[in-house]
Symmetry: C2
């Protein structure tokens, strides 16, 4: 799973052997089982998390006590509360494994050190973040312009294989409608 990260990084930049070693020495690879929490509301997020295998999600628990998923992260994506990470303030979010997963963590201190030793890494994360923000701009467009049913069909067409991997109620909340409404859309009763 370390190598999954290295490989992904090397699709964007190239690292010398000693840089690769340094990087590997500063990361923490671990397995995390389904439903296990990586971050809880109120904790400070001091890591960047790369998903080598499996699926994680970032969610909140709203006033009514319901979970609402804001982001999913699958293979080769990063998932992190950047607000908490940047400012080292308590998080508003939970991060949880949706499947048994293999992840790679880089802690805040270590990433700062790595940036200083391997300046190219800044480029890698700039590219990652640029893609993430671009996706986020499109996401807001979809939320603003499509009805619940359109969002469901659009997502289904765009990521048919992913839809099979997560419970419907998580996907419903990600698309910003209720699980019951999703069920009605799927049954064609709407």
């Amino acid at each position: 799973m370390q190598s999954a990260l290295l490989e992904h990084i090397q699709t964007k930049i190239s690292l010398k052997a000693e840089e690769q070693e340094l990087l590997l020495s500063k990361i923490e690879s671990k397995k995390i089982s389904k439903k296990e929490l990586l971050l809880q509301e109120g904790e400070i997020c001091d890591f960047l998390c790369f998903v080598a295998k499996g699926c994680l999600r970032l969610y909140i628990i709203n006033e009514k006590g319901n979970e609402q998923t804001l982001q999913f992260g699958i293979e080769n994506w990063w998932i992190t509360d950047y607000m908490s990470f940047d400012n080292q303030k308590p998080s508003h979010f939970y991060i949880q494994a949706v499947e048994n997963s293999e992840i790679v963590l880089i802690h805040k201190n270590d990433i700062e050190y790595l940036f200083s030793e391997i300046p190219q890494l800044e480029r890698y994360f700039r590219m990652i973040l640029q893609k993430s923000f671009a996706a986020s701009q499109m996401r807001i467009k979809f939320l603003f312009t499509m009805s619940a049913e359109e969002r469901y069909h659009h997502f289904n067409n765009s990521f048919p294989e992913f839809v099979q991997r997560v419970p419907q109620y998580m996907l419903a909340s990600y698309l910003d409608f209720s699980a019951e409404f999703m069920s009605k859309i799927r049954s064609g009763k709407i």
Copy 2:
């Protein structure tokens, strides 16, 4: 307005004199008047836009022909369609000046050249994008958990001076409700 950009960059990284000169040689500073368009749907966005003075917005025109504002950019913010910029594909968005403004553009070719000559710039943009994405994560949280009225009051409390600068109907669409509903919220009739 060039110096506004240089100053902002130097709050995050430090540049040598020759790097500053190189940067200044590759940017395009211009004035843009209220309502003028910087980007239209269907065009390819080949620039990053820094707002030195004034206010711009990124918006769409939906199926009913109504404008919906997805982002505002004021002094010291960047506003760009990153999806179109990254992939050099036609944009889904319009970018327009909300006030008479002073902006700085960096074109795609130039930014790539600048990154190669001034690696530290990658760091600056990584930091910018990390903040932007963090803000975007919070924005989705607010959209998911707050009612229209709560979103209005929260925004009003967070950015009271900004609320004065833009027409209410733009702000309403940014907060994802209708101009008429905003009017009712403000009058206390809801």
